[in-house]
Amino acid sequence: MGFIDFRDVVKVYRSGEVEIRALDGVSFSLEKGKFIIICGASGAGKSTVLNILGGMDTCTSGEIEVDSSRIDQYNAKQLTDYRRFDIGFVFQFYNLVQNLTARENVELAAEICRDPLDAAETLRLVGLENRMDNFPSQLSGGEQQRVAIARALAKNPKLLLCDEPTGALDYVTGKQILKLLQDMCRKNAITVVVVTHNLAICPMADRVIRMKSGRVVMDEVNETPEDIEHIEW
């Protein structure tokens, strides 16, 4: 049994008479402290996996276990707590409050967690020690994404879930962000799950799960993950 277990998970969306099986019997088991990439084309189901894993959506059937808790059995309140205490999210769009400074944006999320990390320290961790008092509009896209990552990390989550975290960034900045995520995983033993359509970055992961049409079509362990700095695309 892994840190995360998906067992025959199905997600069906219904729109009138139409039924869409976004996930069609997805199963995998992930270890703690690893850097995992879930990749696939648009519509493959990877974001659905992430949303269900992050407690933002529920599955139609199947079992999902995270750190020995069956999150598929959680009610709405439990899912909110799960998102609050256990999960850090990083999305393509940074979702920062524009009239709060970088530090305040991080504090906002951290204040309601059980054992939050210090906001300033977390911002230092992502290389923004000199930008703490800047507002989002005063930061570049990469810096804003770093704030978003710091916000997620400050919650001291069990799991960091990233949905196309470099999607809105240029190549160089995107690599910097991926390196940051990789470093967080390596140095702080945080389990990081990145969803991406960019197959080129798969070599940096400890584990790669490729999806297609709601199914896992490849699941492989990478014994020698590469440093993102050595990957070009």
Binding site: S47, N51, G54, G55, M56, D57, N75, A76, K77, L79, T80, R83, R84, F85, I87, G88, F89, F91, Q92, F93, N95, L96, V97, Q98, N99, L100, T101, R103, E104, N105, E107, L108, A109, A110, E111, I112, C113, R114, D115, P116, D118, A119, E121, M132, D133, R151, A152, K155, D163
Partner: protein, 331 residues
């Protein structure tokens, strides 16, 4: 919803009525979320404009920025008919509802703090400061900053009237007083610096929420918060001796085990008699014998109303304290 010429106001109304759609705004770009919500007939440019309008809404901002920590439905229940959180009866009702168990205390604190922020507090001039500390500081530090217009968190939400005297925070809500006590206790000496200073790596609110502040800590003569003053008063056996049950009740509050009576009816989240802890730990962990029951609630009220330590100079809104105490105790 699917029609042309839709406005951001209508989208916001839809989100209030159907908060399940809120998550679209977390997981995708706002413009994509609008298109998803409105339908495919909307022109991209129109969707962009609508999205801008939607994202200007502080409630939506709060939801999006909370990083999944706030349930959309709970948040929308907090918002009144006009889509804003105002200092109104509706807001008070909302707070009562929240305190009644539909939303835990931490979330409430954060929401109230943010609402204060969004309603135009001095964030822009707060560079370098600790968000929550500064928010609380503006509420608690009236006597220090000379900001006579500042109010306690709940006090401001409740629309409490004009502010306190120079050396009292007694018009703050009970929760504000609790926080005030926490802040003062962190300062230990030189209380002026407490508001913007985080002792160690913890913010003030964080330390309070994490249970770092113990009841004994409050029993310092220098404390100016209501509850601190009450406790000081109790320890000094002034006009109103504090009996054991009262101490238990206060201890319970201070320990963060703000409980609801077991007799309370099940709320919409199935949290029958749920214990909401300031530090977020599980109810059974916190349930340390300091549970507050109705009798104790009355005792707290009695304590609040009877203590000479409240600087009741005519500006104290004791009614607010009663309301808050009642709400805290699920009455």
């Amino acid at each position: 919803m699917s029609k042309q010429n839709i406005t951001s106001k209508e989208v916001l109304q839809t989100l209030r009525e159907h908060p399940e759609y809120l998550k679209l705004f977390r997981t995708m770009a706002a413009v994509d979320a609008v298109e998803e919500l409105v339908g495919e007939h909307l022109q991209r440019e129109a969707a962009v404009q609508i999205a801008k309008g939607v994202m200007k809404d502080p409630v939506i901002q709060l939801y999006v920025a909370s990083d999944g920590s706030i349930d959309g439905r709970e948040l929308m229940e907090f918002v009144n008919e006009t889509g804003t959180v105002s200092r109104s009866a509706a807001a008070e009702q909302g707070v009562r509802s929240l305190l009644d168990g539909k939303l835990d205390i931490k979330t409430l604190l954060m929401i109230v703090a943010l609402m204060k922020l969004f309603s135009g507090s001095n964030t822009q001039s707060n560079q370098g400061g600790n968000l929550i500390s500064s928010l609380l500081g503006s509420a608690l530090g009236a006597s220090h900053s000379g900001n006579s217009g500042s109010q306690g968190l709940l006090g401001s939400l409740f629309g409490a009237g004009s502010q306190t005297s120079a050396n009292t925070m007694s018009s703050l809500g009970l929760l504000g007083a609790l926080l005030g006590a926490g802040m003062m206790s962190q300062a230990n000496s030189g209380s002026h610096s407490a508001y913007g200073q985080s002792s160690g790596s913890q913010s003030l609110l964080g330390s309070l929420l994490s249970g770092a502040v113990q009841p004994q800590t409050y029993q310092q003569p220098s404390q100016q918060s209501l509850l601190g003053a009450l406790l000081s008063s109790a320890s000094q056996a002034q006009s109103q001796p504090v009996q054991q049950p009262q101490q238990s009740a206060l201890g319970s509050l201070l320990n963060g085990s703000v409980n609801q009576s077991p007799a309370q009816t099940q709320n919409s989240y199935g949290m029958n008699g749920q214990v909401y802890a300031l530090d977020g730990t599980a109810p059974q962990v916190l349930n340390n014998g300091y549970n507050v029951n109705s009798a104790q609630a009355q005792q707290i009220q009695s304590l609040l109303s009877g203590s000479d330590s409240i600087h009741d100079n005519g500006q104290v809104n004791v009614g607010n304290l009663f309301s808050i105490a009642s709400a805290l105790l699920g009455k």
